[in-house]
Symmetry: C2
Subunit: 336 residues, 2 copies
């Protein structure tokens, strides 16, 4: 984990990009503190309640990349804005912007970035013209300031991202509207971030631990995967089947395009073929060497680390097998 | 939920079957208390720490359907056995049985059932002969008593279950060994439980809330699904796309053979097409009627309730929309 922090921050420094780690992957203030100590500009949260926990831990520069709607959440957002230095949110519709403005008018202004769908197919305005129109709408609203542009792109789509963002910036420049922050994101294409020259910053979460999907994307090697689930073989009902005490409650059902549920370190031919909540069934039929025995502990690299963090109350950190600290996953399980 | 409890307990009563609800689906002592008040004989847990929480809440008859291995867990299991009336575990190997015996010798004896793989393909001995041999092994071990047979079958496999269990019982009868408990399980085939005439009891978890997979199996209708995830539409980037604030952290990635992630109540043609941790993307292209708007709250029936319970710290109970109580999901997130 320490090496992952250094490697990514060094890349960002080399390219003059601000870096904003997404805390979704670890949800632990002490880990975010290490990221900021290494040079990260601020942090990225996805929920108001997550941001509250990190504000309590002393973080002042927080971007919430989510459309915040509804009186309760807006009230909490406004209280949070009053107590930290640089809170920012995103919006992709006039409905969201108008809700924010109705709450923030007459209070400490909130910076709002326009979320752009540059091909990711999730939230975001669909064209530079829409983005510019929403930016103008924000700039004209009481209680708000226009903060810039944000996108969560499809991996390996630097050209599309650059085209969308630079097109929007050009439209806004014609109106004399400045984009203070232009932020793209994602770990799979993290080392292509410098190709999006319109961006001032990059956000990423998964790089902190890495996982099987990041190995596949070419971002890292298996040795760079810092999170392991430690499971015990509890049954060997047949020569070709081992059952471990880690199921979907530990590994999650996230396949991310794989056909099985993780990598068993030291048993490259073992296939975690199916999961129920508390059991994982491993197919050993392709193993030519030794096979794990009942009671043996296995280290598993998950397909997707972020969802695993959310399942556990505590995370155990170690260096070379010696436990260095145990941290509460402070921002796990938050509903909004 | 109340109707689900009544319906299933009435069926068990009508067929003279003991019923043992699996707490994995709700993980809430107050819900288990309602199940026992309705007539359930005891409860089923999957982990020692779950059983501890339910023992603290006053439950005395607990079956842990898991191979318990390792000194720490065995020590906790032994302490638990000392303080409740009828603790039972399962084993499917001599390794597990020998570990139990080494810990329980000289202490209050522990009842151990033999787990049988009747086609489910998870844990369990593979044949009646193996089951009988392991039963004899348990019966001869200090600190243990042979408690009977347990299986978690493949759905709709009553004949295979009956054949395996009755075959094992016959082998043991020849040795004068009695099977006090013969327990099968599962919600999908719950109303076929009486076809397994060798069984003395049935275990089931999902029936308490039901879910989309139980509707598909024919166990219940959509109206019998008692658990809903309440989500808010936060974005409508295109006419055919809605994005909600419920992703894999709320609905889980469990597909269970479906190609999408749940049922949107009131919008039968809406398809929850993809999830990231905090977003669900709904494809509205097949909706012929009205489409949900930004800010609208949607009720979602998940594919699989058990995994959803594990994601939330609290569950809100209501009757006709009026909240009746909020309960901690006391046994969620337990590691062992």
């Amino acid at each position: 984990m320490a090496a992952n922090i250094t490697r990514v921050q060094s890349y960002m420094n080399a390219h003059g990009l601000n870096f904003r780690p997404h805390i979704k992957t670890h949800k632990i203030p002490a880990v975010a503190a290490a990221q900021v100590a290494a040079g990260a500009k601020g942090i990225n949260c996805q929920k108001v309640t997550e941001a509250e926990i990190f504000a309590d831990a002393g973080f002042e520069d927080i971007l919430i990349t989510f459309n915040i709607l509804g009186t309760e959440k807006l009230e909490r957002l406004s209280s949070l804005n009053d107590r930290i230095g640089a809170l920012k949110v995103v919006a992709d519709s006039a409905t969201t912007v108008d809700g924010l403005s109705a709450h923030f008018a007459g209070r400490k202004p909130l910076a709002v970035l326009v979320e752009c769908d540059t091909g990711g197919g999730r939230c975001g305005v669909q064209t530079p013209a829409e983005a510019a129109a929403l930016a103008r709408h924000i700039a004209g609203k009481p209680g708000l300031s226009f903060g810039g542009l944000m996108t969560y792109p499809k991996p390996k789509s630097a050209v599309a991202v650059q085209t969308f963002l630079s097109g929007t910036i050009a439209l806004l420049q014609a109106d004399g509207i400045d984009c203070a922050i232009v932020t793209s994101g994602g770990t799979p294409s993290l080392f292509d971030a410098h190709l999006v020259t319109a961006a001032t910053e990059h956000r990423a979460g998964t790089y902190i631990y890495n996982d099987r999907s990041m190995v596949r994307s070419g971002h890292c090697s298996e040795d760079d995967c810092a999170m392991h689930i430690l499971a015990t073989v509890v049954s060997r009902p047949t020569p070709d089947r081992a059952v471990i005490d880690a199921g979907s409650k530990a590994l999650t059902s996230d396949l991310l395009g794989f056909s099985d549920y993780g990598v068993v370190v030291g048993y490259p031919d073992a296939v975690i073929a199916s999961l129920s909540e508390e059991h994982g069934v491993i197919d050993l039929s392709k193993c030519t060497g030794p096979r794990p025995e009942i009671g043996e502990k296995l280290r598993i690299i998950p397909n997707h680390t972020c969802v695993v963090s959310n399942l556990f109350d505590r995370m155990v950190f170690h260096r070379d097998g010696i436990v260095t600290r145990v941290e509460d996953v402070a921002a796990r399980g938050l509903v909004w």
